[in-house]
Symmetry: C2
């Protein structure tokens, strides 16, 4: 149907869950692609050391090989899909492929978060590109939104639910009222969490994605090691329930916000208002909210993991490379971290936010006054204070109090909590969880009237 | 920063709310664009008969002209932005610009819904493209998702909330419990609805957008005149409240679904489950849910109207044309309606859905049996039946009954309602509202396992 009939040779390296789904889309479903874009993607090699999964899927035996060099030496291969994962072998393969003049399509967020700028530079030296829609939020075309659809926007903030395992666990804790350990065990039994879930529940995986997304959104080089990370593994059910009573939902958010000349980057379990669209994103789904100065709030929602959704993004990248689109964007955009200034990443103490604080205190007169004095001295303004009836309170002499603050410096809050923790009337380490309000939309700024 | 420094001359035709915002982005905010993409967009003409709005915005006086021909004759103009609206003059301008070898960027859904395929063909004959991200859902990059990010997917269904005025009115009716007329009057007073709101509230504007989106999603030529359209102006508050009690939210949806070999296309106020992400889209926001065979459910959310959000999409298209991206996609994709087969648009009677039905009946024995017999003879299976206490029931001798059905042929439901309407015990024309369930996701199909 199409006027141009592009053909593009591909080598797929790594045939696990995503690799297998990618190969399936490129073979079993090749008619769909041809019907939609007239581009022929010619899968020529499936490179892996173990072909068990490929054989289970019934993939063409003649494509299976363990010989990467043969694939890289084939002049008919224009694109190498790297789905090996990890950062050592994957980096070697990526660099080899780029130096052999092949475009690289990857889903590897860890690799790009740690070594993206270096690899982008290697790509440019060799006149090729790296495409990575699949690295963040699976099947959701968020990289395209940032590099294309929202290009005229000065992005002011980006909030993402970008780890499906964490979102599934938190949704279940909220909905079923079960503790972290029980829900994690169930998720592992159901195959929704890894046997070793550390990378997910520690927040590290979300921070990898935040590094990539924030770099593109703000056009600055983001240092992964300076992203403040807190996971979900220390969360207590009691706080989730107290937050719910206040009208909040707990979510693990990857947050990037402009603040003055700096950028606040953090991964945190935070409370968001039940009315915020991100509050509704439940189970294994992902979503990214982006606040642009022209668009205001836009949000992108979908499955952030799994073979087919991720493979959908991988193949979209292969098609874009085959059509000559992504290489042009990769060459022209000024957003790439290897070309940008380094972001002024503010230390976590400088972040300004609202906070939820829970303390266990002695149930006697004067306690509120003591705590209030500490908060006042740290210049933290209290928004609400309540002493809810809490079954778990360990003794009749003790009381649980819940405080929410107005916008405050995180450094001041930390200092206040440390000081409160030393008061003889405060019995356990205070719990502190950020509250993220709806980001103000800028769209009706000067010279613009609402329609 | 960028290696290539593209420069692109632009003429803007029509300086109303969107045109003014577009000019503002291209002048006041040109540094943002240059910082993000290294592309220089050179706004050379603002063509309009009345420059009052342009002057209010303080746009450069030297750009203002009423002379379209001069702009089209200028060899340094590569792109014409058509923001005139309507379908007569806008069509002439568009054809003139295309024949003069200019790419056209437009927000004009009515024009494309009525004459898209003819205009796309004219563009191709002249070696240029038409870009129209701004025509559907304002600042949300949904055209890009369908033509690029989701390209490997066979799309099975698309549900859109694509008219902000209707969504604002329905949200207010649900949240404030006020009737249609009162809410409309308020929306008009607040500038959120036009003085003549017909195009919006009749569903016609949503149908324009559905015609464009469905054509791209399904790669078929969609006939606007065969889209079944129902507006929100007949909705009664009582039904919204009854639906709410059953766990549903009322939304004006633009729906495109595969059904066998055919395509069901309709715009309707329908009930959707309170748990569906589209149920949460409130006020003037828009959202489009797309179900692909590989991605499963993805959703795109944002402001669907207003000067700046729509201008954001217009400028993204200009940049994409300037970078040579959109023209390539426009030339290569097999999705364009001027190249596709015509869709097999099923008559509305063939649509299969669930339904909510409300009737006013005589409150005496045997009535349920009569109605039940009619439904049984039409092979409609009843899912629930209740007789709620309704204050508005006009007399003690009468009762309101609410029925929900299992999935049924709309033709059968219409026939059953016509027959019930003739029963002496049924006192008013029955009310019928479709219920849209979550579309089943296909992603774990053969050969694919959940991660």
């Amino acid at each position: 149907m199409s006027e141009t009939n592009t053909k593009c040779g591909v080598a797929l390296v790594g045939c696990g869950v995503v690799g297998g789904a990618t190969a399936t889309l490129l073979t079993r479903d090749s008619e769909i692609l041809r019907g939609r874009c007239g581009t022929r993607i010619d899968l020529r090699y499936i490179v892996d050391l173990d072909h068990t999964h490929a054989r289970e899927l019934g993939l063409d035996e003649s494509l299976l090989t363990a010989d990467l060099t043969a694939a890289l030496d084939d002049p008919d291969v224009q694109v190498v899909i790297e789905l090996v994962g990890g950062i050592t072998t994957a980096r070697e393969i990526t660099e080899q492929a780029l130096r052999a003049g092949k475009h690289v399509v990857t889903a590897n967020k860890a690799l790009l978060a740690h070594a993206g700028p270096e690899l982008y530079a290697v790509a440019r030296e060799n006149g090729v590109s790296i495409a990575f829609e699949a690295s963040c939020a699976g099947g959701i075309p968020i990289i395209r939104a940032l590099t294309d659809g929202l290009i005229v926007n000065r992005i002011d903030a980006l909030y993402g639910i970008v780890n499906g395992t964490c979102n599934f666990i938190l949704s279940a804790m909220v909905q079923e009222g079960k503790g972290y350990d029980r829900v994690l065990a169930q998720a592992q039994a159901d195959g929704l969490a890894e046997a070793d879930p550390t990378l997910d529940v520690s927040g590290e995986d979300s921070a990898h994605k935040l590094t990539i997304l924030a770099g593109l959104a703000f056009g600055q080089n983001v240092d992964f090691d300076a992203v403040s990370i807190e996971g979900i593994d220390k969360l207590q059910l009691m706080d989730i329930q107290q937050g719910k009573a206040l009208g909040y939902v707990i979510k693990l958010l990857a947050i990037a916000q402009r603040q003055g000349d700096g950028l606040c980057l953090r991964v945190r379990p935070v409370f968001i208002d039940i009315e915020h669209p991100l509050a509704w994103v439940s189970g294994p789904f992902n979503a990214v909210s982006v606040y642009g100065h022209a668009t205001g709030h836009t949000m992108y929602y979908g499955r952030g993991a799994g073979g087919m959704p991720t493979a959908s993004a991988v193949v979209a990248d292969v098609v874009s490379v085959a059509q000559g689109l992504w290489p042009k964007l990769f060459a022209q955009l000024a957003l790439w971290p290897d070309r940008c200034e380094s972001a002024n990443q503010l230390p976590i103490e400088e972040v300004r936010s609202r906070y939820y604080i829970r303390m266990l205190v002695e149930d006697r007169p004067g306690v509120f006054a003591q705590i209030g004095r500490v908060f006042a001295e740290e210049e933290i303004s209290i928004a609400s204070l309540l002493q809810p009836e809490v079954e778990e309170t360990p003794s009749d002499d003790l009381a649980t109090i819940v405080i929410t603050t107005h916008v405050s410096r995180e450094g001041a809050v930390r200092s206040a909590l440390a000081r409160c923790g030393e008061l003889p009337t405060v019995r356990a380490r205070p719990v502190c969880i950020g509250i993220v309000d709806e980001h103000p939309e800028q769209l009706w700024a000067e010279g613009e009237q609402q329609e």
